[in-house]
């Protein structure tokens, strides 16, 4: 049970990091556009 819970938590963290990566791409492009 604990293992399933931990996998779930790490999975959520991985999804948030992936979404963060996409936001970073957007920010870098915006940064280029704003320079």
């Amino acid at each position: 049970m604990r293992k399933i819970f931990l996998k779930g938590i790490f999975g959520v963290a991985a999804e948030i990091i992936f979404a963060g990566g996409l936001i970073l791409i957007g920010f870098l492009i915006s940064l280029l556009g704003g320079l």
């Binding site: 999975g11 991985a14 992936f18 979404a19 996409l22 936001i23 791409i25 957007g26 492009i29 915006s30």
Partner: protein, 505 residues
């Protein structure tokens, strides 16, 4: 052959009755919300509309109970789904209409279909002064529609339904995470409810930081999360996310609608320990590529016209609308008219393409989906290789989506068919918009938003638009969300019944 597959009326009515009963039950949530806030008129409205749905749905369930274990054919499963979405719309529009916030019953139906299909375009009047009960209903419809309401009703109200998988596929969610459709639907709901708890708390805090009172921050957090996760686009305020003037709120909403736009099979893989799937899945790769390319094009377009003077406003206005459009969410941090008046052709072109592509298959998102873009790209790659390389050097092409899948001709044909159907619907919507007197750019933008179930608006969608356009958009939202097949099956079913009746008389 087709007639035999979609001809049994009573089992279809029985399953539609269950869905209507379920839609009556969930009206208790906005009813309780209104009770808590002392909105008595709205309480009565939900009592009336909830009773009608429970009575009619319950009668169908009791009267046709002997069809409980009927084994539905593929066609019948799809007719149930398409029929339940349409009849559900008529029932769910009742509290809207009774609230007096709509100019006509058609407008109420438009908003229900927009909610169910997670589109997010609205014809409601005076949105900034709505009761909490009506707002709860608007956002609940989006949340329920996004996860799949037919399978929700079946998985929680009936045990051992034979046709559940067929109805699950009918709702355009064709990937089985668990051995059967009911446990798959339950798993989808568990994932969504866990994220609902986390997302509401985070947005609650963000709302309080943005200056909302504790209870308003909670309700707005809950509603915005339900809308973001479902890639819905409805917001409690007419200014959408712009209302909060908060960069924290904007970043948090992007994270949740991005995650909400992921394939449920991908969620299942990642949450059960296969985190690398995020990096090698064809959908996430295709989505990352199209987001990057289209953001670059939109940024170039905005740069040419000097729309946003610095990087922060380019990110908060330009990128936000782009990612909101690409995930088919529809949250906005600019005013609708700014798209058409300020953005220019290049940025509008990029966002129209983003809205048509959409996000992932088997998710809450619309559009023709990154999976199909990936399949078509790989099919081109395979054919180019076949042309330029000797036959002995061309290996079998595979794509990775949860597992390795052989790129066979039927997979490619199916992807092309669906993409073709989306483009045809988009073209038709644009044409009808122009026939109603709107300019090409505006018609194309709104048509892409409706076809992709996005919800971004350049200002065309208003209560004053022609009835013919409202009806067209309702049909387009419904067609696109269910990915055409279920509604075609319903069309065949109705035609068969009419034909039989004509022959009889």
């Amino acid at each position: 052959m087709i007639e035999r597959h979609v001809s049994r009326l009573y089992p279809i009515c029985y399953f539609i009755g269950i869905v209507i009963f379920g839609l009556g039950l969930i009206q208790m949530i906005p009813l309780i919300t209104s009770l808590l806030y002392g909105e008595w008129d709205i309480v009565y409205n939900f009592m009336i509309s909830g009773s009608v749905a429970l009575l009619i749905g319950g009668t169908a369930m009791v009267a046709l109970g002997k069809y409980r274990l009927a084994r539905l054919s593929w066609g019948e499963g799809m007719v149930v789904t398409a029929g339940a979405w349409f009849i559900g719309m008529l029932f769910c529009a009742l509290p809207y209409y009774l609230s007096g916030s709509y100019l006509s019953y058609l407008d109420s139906c438009f908003d229900v279909m927009s909610g169910f299909t997670t589109t997010g375009l609205a014809l409601i009047q005076d949105m900034d002064h709505l009761s909490n009960g009506i707002n709860m209903w608007r956002l609940l419809l989006t949340f329920v529609g996004g996860q799949g309401m037919v399978v929700l009703a079946l998985s929680f109200l009936v045990k051992g339904t034979n046709g559940a998988y067929k109805m699950y596929v009918g709702e355009a969610k064709d990937e089985r995470l668990m051995p059967n459709a009911v446990s798959t639907a339950r798993y989808i709901w568990i994932i969504s409810l866990i994220y609902l708890a986390v997302g509401t708390i985070v947005l609650w805090i963000a709302g309080m930081i943005a200056g909302l009172s504790v209870d308003r921050a909670f309700l707005h957090g809950l509603w915005i999360f339900m809308s973001a996760w479902s890639t819905g686009g409805f917001a409690p305020m007419s200014q959408s996310v712009l209302y909060y003037h908060s960069s924290i709120y904007e970043i948090v909403t992007i994270i949740f609608f991005l995650i909400g736009s992921f394939n449920f099979a991908l969620h299942y893989a990642v949450l059960t320990g296969r985190k690398k799937e995020l990096m090698k899945n064809i959908e996430t790769i295709s989505f990352t590529v199209t987001v990057t390319v289209l953001t670059l094009i939109a940024t170039l377009g905005l740069l040419q016209l000097h729309v946003y003077p610095d990087a922060v406003s380019m990110f908060r206005k330009g990128f936000y609308q782009m990612i909101s459009g690409h995930t088919t969410t529809g949250f906005m941090t600019i005013y609708a008219k700014q798209f058409y008046n300020e953005w220019g052709d290049m940025a509008l072109f990029a966002i129209i393409i983003a809205m048509l592509i959409g996000a992932s298959a088997c998710s809450t998102a619309g559009g023709f989906k990154g999976l199909r873009v990936g399949i078509i790209f790989n099919a081109f790659k395979r054919d180019v290789k076949r042309m330029v390389l000797p036959e002995s050097m061309v290996s079998v092409q595979k794509i990775h989506h949860i597992k390795d899948i052989l790129l066979e001709d039927n997979v490619i044909r199916s992807a092309f068919l669906i993409v073709g159907a989306y483009i045809f619907t988009f073209t038709l919507g644009t044409l009808i918009g122009m026939l109603c007197g709107y300019p090409f750019g505006l018609s194309a933008f709104e048509s892409a938003s409706v076809t992709g179930n996005v919800g971004l608006s350049a200002g065309l969608t208003q209560a004053s638009m022609p009835v013919v356009l409202k009806v067209t958009y309702i049909i387009m939202m419904w067609l696109a969300r269910l990915e055409f097949m279920s509604i075609l099956a319903l069309g065949v079913f109705i035609a068969t019944k009419v034909k039989k009746r004509c022959i009889k008389y």
